[in-house]
Structures are given as structure tokens and as C-alpha cells.
């Protein structure tokens, strides 16, 4: 298997799906001539032309809605948001149009579209450019949500998202684009609703997704030195959620820490923690722990911004609380 970056893996997925189906188009700010703000779409304009790789004006609500309308009339658009922060300008189009059209038309009109871009905190970006918005998109029925943590998953999941007949929110992260990993060169598809057990263990389950998975694995390695064997689950598909894999693990380990780099209030993390407490109550030997972003806007100062986010130490501390080994 070739070792490539997360960014290249996404590009391969786009390239392969655009070659496979001429209905797939890519639109967003700077995706064409500039080759993408994060160079995900490098070379695609040259290969597929300006009818299919489209530079938009800075009109997030406009081009997001335009993507939905194109999907309604037979195309399969991939809409790139330069960051998920800017998708807040467009959230009405996602909530009220993309997610509702099938239901309120009595099943007549489906919306095959992918909205993708970097989500969550990066570095030194301040409050408005460092937000993890998965809770917002997972909240709304009619959407699917994916959040890969490795280049291989990024490729296999984006290809699946593009082939799906529903609207899919696809979450990446600025700091992940340069991450490297092995990616299969043959056809590679990862289905919705399938979590990945990254490491098996019997002392505690740690569940997370997207960028924090790497941090969770680092924490798990350190915990192992203290004799705590953590089982690490990468949720990958946030909606639909692979509940069964989580429950099976927790029923084995009897303890769980959920990691989510969004705010804690009404979050994916808090929802997963509730599901576990509801469905594994008799198996739990400790309260489910939740490690999240602190409940504050992101500060600019680097020391403060790092303190606001989940960290290896915070994960280890949570595991120690859950295993009563503090």
C-alpha cells in the first residue's frame, strides 16, 4: 500500500469518483484555479474542466443552496466549505432544504450531495475560525455525517459519501491534511454506520472520532505502561452511528470515556455517553466520562487554546477516574 497524506487521499477519492460518474461536480471557494485553500482539489480543474470544478463567489448560502438545487435536478455535487465555520452562513440550506426535501415531498425528491471541509480547532485561529460543529449537523434528521481519522478512511468514506443518495456532511480538519498513512490502491469503500476498533483492550473503552483519535491512541499507549488496557473505538460514521460496536466493547470493559472536541452541551459526545448509560447501565462499573472542548469560545493565545482542547493528559485523567486509579 502506498503511504500518502490525508489531503492526497481525499483528492484520490474525488478524482476516482469524478472519473467514474460525470454527474459528480465539485464547487466551492478557491477549489478550481487556486487548487483548493488546502490543496485537496489540486489538478482537478485541469482534468475535469470548469463545468465540473467550479470556483464560487464568497456566497456560502448561495452556492450551498445551488448545490442542493443541482442535486435535485440530477447532479451529484460535492460542495467544499473552506471551513465548517463558514457553513454557518449556509446552515439554512442544509437544515431546511437538503435535509427536509425528501421528507416533505413525500419521498419524491432526494438530495445526493456531499458537504465537506475542515472542522474543529486548528491553531492560532481565534474564536470564529476554531469551532467543531458536528453537534449541529448530527442533530438534524435527514443528514448523514462522517468524520474519518486516517487517510485510508478519508478515501474510503468520501467515496461512499459521494455515491450515497442522501445529503452527507463530511468532516475533515486543517491539522490532519498533512497526516500520512497507508491507503489501498485498489477500490476502497468504507460503509456508513461502521466503527473501527483501533486497539483492543479489556480495562476501559475510549470512543472518539476525527482528529482526537490519534491523541486517544497516544493516551492508550501510555496507559498500557501503567497496566491499563484501553480498547479504542473510532466512531467514523456519526450518523448513522454504530451503536452495537460501542455496546459490545463497553459490556466487555464496563467503563467508558467518550472524547469529542466540540463543546460538551448537547454534543455527539454527550449523546453517545447517554446511549451507553441507557443501554449498558447494568454493565457499567463507573460513570461514563466525557472529554470535550472546554465550554468557552476558542482563545487565540496558544497556551490557552491548547488548554481549552482535549489532550492526552485529559484523556488519561478521565480513564483514571473511570478506572478508579487516580
Amino acid at each position: 500500500m502506498a503511504v500518502i497524506t490525508f489531503r492526497e487521499a481525499l483528492r484520490q477519492a474525488l478524482d476516482e469518483e469524478m472519473a467514474r460518474d460525470e454527474k459528480v461536480i465539485l464547487l466551492g471557494e478557491e477549489v478550481a484555479q487556486y487548487n483548493g485553500a488546502y490543496k485537496v482539489s489540486q489538478g482537478l480543474l485541469e482534468k475535469y474542466g470548469s463545468l465540473r470544478v467550479i470556483d464560487t463567489p464568497i456566497s456560502e448560502e448561495g452556492f450551498t443552496g445551488l448545490g442542493v438545487g443541482a442535486a435535485l435536478a440530477g447532479l451529484r455535487p460535492v460542495v467544499e466549505w473552506m471551513t465548517l465555520n463558514f457553513s454557518l452562513q449556509a446552515v439554512d440550506q442544509v437544515y431546511n432544504n437538503a435535509a427536509k426535501m425528501l421528507y416533505m415531498s413525500g419521498g419524491q425528491l432526494n438530495v445526493p450531495i456531499v458537504f465537506r471541509g475542515p472542522n474543529g480547532p486548528a491553531e492560532f485561529l481565534g474564536s470564529q475560525h476554531s469551532q467543531a460543529l458536528q453537534s449541529l449537523y448530527c442533530h438534524c434528521p435527514g443528514l448523514k455525517v462522517m468524520a474519518p481519522s486516517t487517510p485510508a478512511d478519508a478515501k474510503g468514506m468520501l467515496k461512499t459519501a459521494i455515491r450515497d443518495d442522501n445529503p452527507v456532511i463530511f468532516l475533515e480538519a486543517e491539522l490532519m491534511y498533512g497526516w500520512k498513512g497507508e491507503v489501498p490502491e485498489t477500490e476502497h469503500l468504507i460503509p456508513f454506520g461502521k466503527a473501527d476498533i483501533k486497539k483492543t483492550g479489556k480495562s476501559v473503552t475510549i470512543a472518539g472520532f476525527s482528529k482526537p483519535v490519534k491523541m486517544i491512541l497516544e493516551a492508550a499507549d501510555l496507559l498500557e505502561k501503567d497496566g491499563i488496557e484501553a480498547e479504542v473505538i473510532d466512531l467514523r460514521s456519526l450518523r448513522p452511528l454504530d451503536e452495537e460496536t460501542i455496546y459490545q466493547s463497553v459490556r466487555k470493559t464496563n467503563r467508558c470515556v467518550v472524547v469529542d472536541e466540540a463543546w460538551p452541551y448537547a454534543s455527539v459526545g454527550s449523546h453517545v455517553a447517554w446511549l451507553i448509560s441507557r443501554n449498558c447501565f447494568d454493565y457499567l462499573d463507573a460513570p461514563v466520562e466525557l472529554v470535550t472542548l472546554e465550554d468557552v469560545p476558542m482563545p487565540y493565545n496558544h497556551h490557552l487554546e491548547l488548554s481549552a482542547q482535549p489532550s492526552v493528559k485529559k484523556v488519561i485523567d478521565a480513564v483514571k477516574r473511570a478506572t478508579y486509579t487516580m
Binding site: I25, L51, R52, I54, T56, P57, S59, E61, G62, F63, T64, G65, L66, G67, V68, G69, A70, A71, L72, A73, G74, L75, P77, D92, Q93, N96, N97, M101, L102, Y103, M104, S105, G106, G107, Q108, L109, N110, P141, G142, K144, D164, D165, N166
Partner: protein
């Protein structure tokens, strides 16, 4: 305004327009009555007074290649597109036989096969969808055109401005039609618009606007036909402000106390149905007796739609979870 003589149009053509306008009028009157009887709930926005706009415009397009988008005052356009009034009345009653299986309601009529794309409830939010469908038309090299209807309230939404800009830079075949019925809910459009003449609103985007008398169905048909032909040929968007008037309140709950009786009366004497009827009588195409026969046939048809809706089954509980995703 364009001056034309009635003889330009054959009797059958005019009769068809007349019947459609009467059908809308009688359907809406009955819908109001059923609302009063609490057979219909929620919001119910009637098209009475605006019939010439929808009927004249839809007559100018080919629904096998062209698309229609409108906002929540959608009953009239749905009927103009040839949707079965039984399925529309059933939808208002929330029945399983409704066009959207009773899950859409008054604001969400859809008919995929007739390219009637709703029925959209958020003011102005459907305007980008129309541009997206036009992008799909462009990419498929079809000769289609999208008619995008919205009101004088929606014209101040960012979606209108973002969409016109995109339609112009990408040469999208959309005809934007502002149905200026002069009140955004209870607010006279002159109180909230920097300009009174909406035809200049497209100027920032290099799109020329035309004002049309929306009380005369033949004028609407003629101007929309010209614009649609131009758009098909030049592949450029267009913009019309069709001046019209709604006789009823914004919705059924609005007594419309913000306008004078004299104003309402001044429009009643230019009623679109009376105007066309007089022209046809003058041209010897219609007698009073023939008109009465047509009207009573249509009234009976609408009553049958109520019977159909009354007798139709409620959606079964399983439908609650259907059509959330494909």
C-alpha cells in the same frame, strides 16, 4: 406594458387559461372554507388575485425540460402545472393520498414528474435551488429553463442577490420572477425597500429587469414567453417584476387591516378572471351562459376534491419514519 389585440390568440388557448384561473380561484375559496371548518390546519397562504401570474407564466414553458420553483404560496402554481387537485386538497387535509403523502402540507406541494419543485417555506431560501437546477441543465446541455418565483418580501434576502450573481457569472438559464403582490406579510413593500421599482434590482448583476402587469394573463404569457425564448437562445438569466395583488390576507390568520377597502376594490375591478372573460366575450369566444357552465363544472370538481380528501385515509403511523433518508 405591451399592447396586443386579442385576436392573436385562438379561442381554445384563451379558454384553457380561463379555466385554469377559475380552477385556482375556486380551489382556494374552498380551501379557505375548509380552513374555517378546521379541516385544514397551520399556515395557509392563498393565491386569490394572483392567478394570472402563475397561469400565464407556466403556459409559457415546457415542463418536460423546464422547472418551476416557488415559495409557500404554492397552490396556484401547483394547479397551473397541472397537478391533480384531489392530491392537493388531500395534502391540505394531511391525508396519505396527498401529493406529499400528508407530510408536506399547504406550503410543501411537490410533483417531481411535472418538475414542480415546491412549495418552499423559508422566505427566499429556494432561490439558490433554482440556480442549481439551472446548473444541472447547463451541464446536461439540455435546452431547459427554470422559472423561479418569489415575493416582494424575499427580494431583500441575501439568497436573491447571491443567486443572481451566480446565475450571471455562470450563464444559468433562470428566469427570476418577483411576484410583487405589494405586501410582505403585513408590510407595504414601499416601507421596507430602498427602491420602489424592483426592475433595477438585477442591474448590479448585469441582468435587465422588466415590469409586467400581473393582472392580465395574456400579457404575462407573452412577456414570459419572450423571456424564456431569449434565455433558451442566449443562455443568460432574466428578471421580471410581475405586479399583482392578493385579495386575501398573507395567510388565513391575517385579517389584512393594513390596507384600505378602496385599494382592494381598485384591484377587484381589474380581476384577472374578469379581464380575460371580458376579452373573450368581446371577441365572441364566450357567452355569459358558457362562462356559468364552466364555473359550475369547476366548482363541482373542487367539491369532489374535498370529498376525496375527506374520504382519504390518514397516513399510517409507520409513515412517520419513512422518507427521512433514501
Amino acid at each position: 406594458m405591451i399592447d396586443r389585440s386579442n385576436e392573436k390568440y385562438p379561442k381554445e388557448f384563451m379558454l384553457n387559461l380561463l379555466k385554469k384561473m377559475i380552477l385556482i380561484r375556486r380551489f382556494e375559496e374552498l380551501a379557505a372554507q375548509m380552513y374555517g371548518l378546521q379541516k385544514i390546519g397551520g399556515f395557509c397562504h392563498l393565491y386569490i388575485g394572483q392567478e394570472a401570474t402563475g397561469v400565464g407564466a407556466v403556459e409559457a414553458v415546457d415542463l418536460s425540460t423546464d422547472y418551476i420553483y416557488t415559495a409557500y404560496r404554492d397552490h396556484g402554481l401547483a394547479i397551473a402545472c397541472g397537478m391533480d387537485i384531489n392530491s392537493l386538497m388531500a395534502e391540505l387535509f394531511g391525508k396519505a393520498t396527498g401529493c406529499s403523502k400528508g407530510k408536506g402540507g399547504s406550503m410543501h406541494f411537490f410533483d417531481k414528474s411535472k418538475h414542480f419543485m415546491g412549495g418552499n417555506g423559508i422566505v427566499g431560501a429556494h432561490i439558490p435551488l433554482a440556480a442549481g437546477s439551472a446548473l444541472a441543465i447547463r451541464n446536461s446541455k439540455s435546452n431547459g429553463v427554470v422559472l423561479c418565483f418569489f415575493g416582494d418580501g424575499a427580494i431583500h434576502q441575501g439568497t436573491f442577490h447571491e443567486s443572481l450573481n451566480m446565475a450571471k457569472i455562470w450563464n444559468l438559464p433562470v428566469l427570476y420572477i418577483c411576484e410583487n403582490n405589494q405586501y410582505g406579510m403585513g408590510t407595504d413593500f414601499r416601507r421596507v425597500s430602498a427602491v420602489e421599482d424592483f426592475t433595477i434590482m438585477g442591474a448590479s448583476y448585469g441582468i435587465e429587469g422588466k415590469q409586467v402587469n400581473g393582472m392580465d394573463v395574456l400579457t404575462v404569457y407573452e412577456v414570459v414567453s419572450e423571456e424564456v425564448a431569449r434565455i433558451r437562445k442566449e443562455k443568460l438569466p432574466g428578471f421580471l417584476e410581475i405586479k399583482t395583488y392578493r385579495y386575501k390576507g398573507h395567510s388565513m390568520s391575517d385579517p389584512a387591516k393594513y390596507r384600505t377597502r378602496q385599494e382592494l376594490e381598485s384591484y377587484r375591478i381589474q380581476d384577472p378572471i374578469i379581464i380575460l372573460k371580458s376579452k373573450m366575450v368581446d371577441a365572441g369566444f364566450l357567452s355569459e351562459q358558457e362562462y356559468e357552465t364552466i364555473d359550475s363544472t369547476i366548482k363541482a370538481q373542487c367539491k369532489d376534491a374535498v370529498t376525496f380528501a375527506e374520504e382519504s385515509p390518514e397516513p399510517v403511523l409507520e409513515m412517520l419514519y419513512q422518507d427521512v433518508l433514501v
